[in-house]
């Protein structure tokens, strides 16, 4: 009996169409040097605060206070997949902080499934840098990155202990600071499009990024309709100083499909690893 088969030519074309349709919707196609899995907002400049605080630029209440516990492993260049031994973690270690830089375009993936995508335009610019703070897994004493054999990258890493600070409260009684494990303050630390650090109201952010709308959706269709109605438009909301009254800039929330189409195909080099757990940090 003839085994009925789909016309291969038709099927190949259909498959390509489906793959491209899915990729068009991809949050990963947004210009991303920060780690996917850290949430959509990571790419838009919300401050984790580590680097900025360390650099003395801007003290963000509630941000993780990172103490270095070990000498960083010297920055070295690698090609293809590699594992870097860090030695035994010192007493009190809670995490590993890494500075990762891609030297060629490509997809670079860390062992917890997070990844950094470098476009040709990123290489040699600050966009090639990714800061990375991960929790120490029991027994962990190395970090592994995987990528295609021809891709080059460099990294340095050190053991740290991380303590979450407290938020501050302004004259109006609103809390301000960084989002952290304890939740979200009333005013969230961000970097405005003009480069000025400041705060956005959580309510305004949630209104603009769809979190507020999401709570009102009664069905998935409403969510899709909202997404479609919003389209690719960027939303702008005001950035304030700690008083929550003086505007110091604007904060942009990228619309639906993102804008950069040069990212390489997304691939999972760690099929066994769970997605996410990375905490993005601001550049030093």
């Amino acid at each position: 009996m003839n085994q009925l088969q789909v016309d291969e030519q038709f099927s190949t074309a259909l498959r390509a169409e489906l793959v491209s349709k899915v990729q068009q919707k991809s949050p990963a196609r947004r210009h991303t040097r920060l780690w996917l899995g850290a949430g959509v907002l990571a790419g838009t400049g919300i401050l984790g605060g580590v680097g900025a605080t360390a650099a003395g630029l801007f003290v963000v209440p509630g941000s993780p206070q990172v103490s270095t516990l070990s000498t960083p492993v010297p920055e070295a260049t690698y090609q293809g997949p590699a594992t870097i031994e860090l030695g035994e973690p010192p007493e009190g270690t809670t995490g590993i902080q890494m500075d990762f830089t891609c030297l060629t375009p490509g997809l670079f993936q860390y062992q917890d499934g997070s990844r950094s995508i470098c476009s040709p335009e990123d290489v040699g610019t600050p966009q090639a840098w990714s800061g990375y703070l991960v929790q120490l897994a029991p027994g962990q004493h190395s970090v592994t990155f995987r990528t295609e054999p021809e891709n080059r990258w460099k990294v340095t890493a050190k053991y740290v202990s991380v303590e979450i600070g407290d938020w501050e409260t302004n004259a109006d009684g609103d809390t301000y600071g960084a989002e952290n494990e304890n939740g979200i303050p009333d005013l969230i630390a961000v970097i405005a499009t003009n480069g000025t650090p400041g705060y956005v109201y959580r309510t305004e952010l949630e209104e603009a990024n769809g979190t507020a709308a999401m709570k009102t959706f009664k069905s998935p269709e409403e969510a899709v309709a909202w997404q479609e109605a919003r389209g690719d438009k960027d939303s702008l909301i005001p950035v304030y100083d700690t008083t929550g009254k003086t505007v110091v800039g604007e904060f942009a929330i990228a619309g639906g499909n993102g804008s950069v189409g040069t990212a390489p195909p997304v691939k999972n080099y760690f099929p066994e690893a769970p997605q996410k757990t990375a905490i993005p940090v601001a550049p030093n």
Partner: protein, 194 residues
């Protein structure tokens, strides 16, 4: 099959994050079964290809609504295939331009007698299936042809297992009557020979 099916969840999750390749793998995995089901319902190769396309396009368009059953998207796809086939003219409007733009291989339709005879028989079977109501057809597709448990089919269709069971029983009887009444000798159903 169990392990392979279990991986759907992860591929689906990655698809939702915009990884086209993951969606491509789902397509590779389920393409043939969806196509055969579409063919079973339409009895025409080109129609079945269109229905296959529409089922996968709908899978993506309605992604927030998709329910995985036992970690697999296949039951949802098969139900959607049934609905699309039922409604293929109207559904096709949404995707017409895309469907027309997809290239097709040459010289496959009715190229030899075996295929011709088979396609005649399949058309008869498709007509017999067309006598079932939509819900019964969905159930029969999942339980009779695709060998899902009644419980799994009930889950994807939002029915109670007891209601699904009695519906399957009634639908089987109806289908037998339709096939036996309409055809001499009864055709070999796709589900029997695959």
């Amino acid at each position: 099959m169990g392990n392979v099916e279990a991986d759907d969840g992860r591929l689906w999750e990655r698809s939702l994050q915009g990884e086209g390749d993951a969606f491509g793998l789902l397509f590779d995995r389920h393409r043939d079964r969806v196509f055969r089901h579409a063919y079973r319902l339409s009895g025409q190769r080109h129609d079945a290809e269109d229905i296959l396309s529409m089922a996968f396009l709908e899978l993506w368009r309605r992604r927030l609504k998709v329910r995985l059953v036992d970690g697999s998207v296949l039951p949802w796809l098969l139900v959607t295939t049934t609905n699309v086939a039922r409604n293929s003219k109207r559904s096709a409007l949404r995707y017409r331009r895309l469907l027309d733009s997809l290239p097709r291989g040459e010289g496959i339709a009715n190229a030899n007698d075996d295929v011709f005879l088979q396609s005649e028989m399949d058309r008869d079977a498709a007509r017999a299936l067309a006598t079932l109501g939509t819900e019964d057809l969905q159930l029969v597709s999942l339980v009779v042809f695709e060998e899902y448990t009644v419980a799994a089919a009930a889950a994807v269709l939002g029915l109670s297992p007891a209601a699904a069971k009695s519906r399957v029983h009634r639908a089987r009887k109806r289908m037998k009557t339709a096939i036996n009444g309409a055809l001499q000798p009864p055709p070999v159903l796709e589900g029997d020979r695959l």
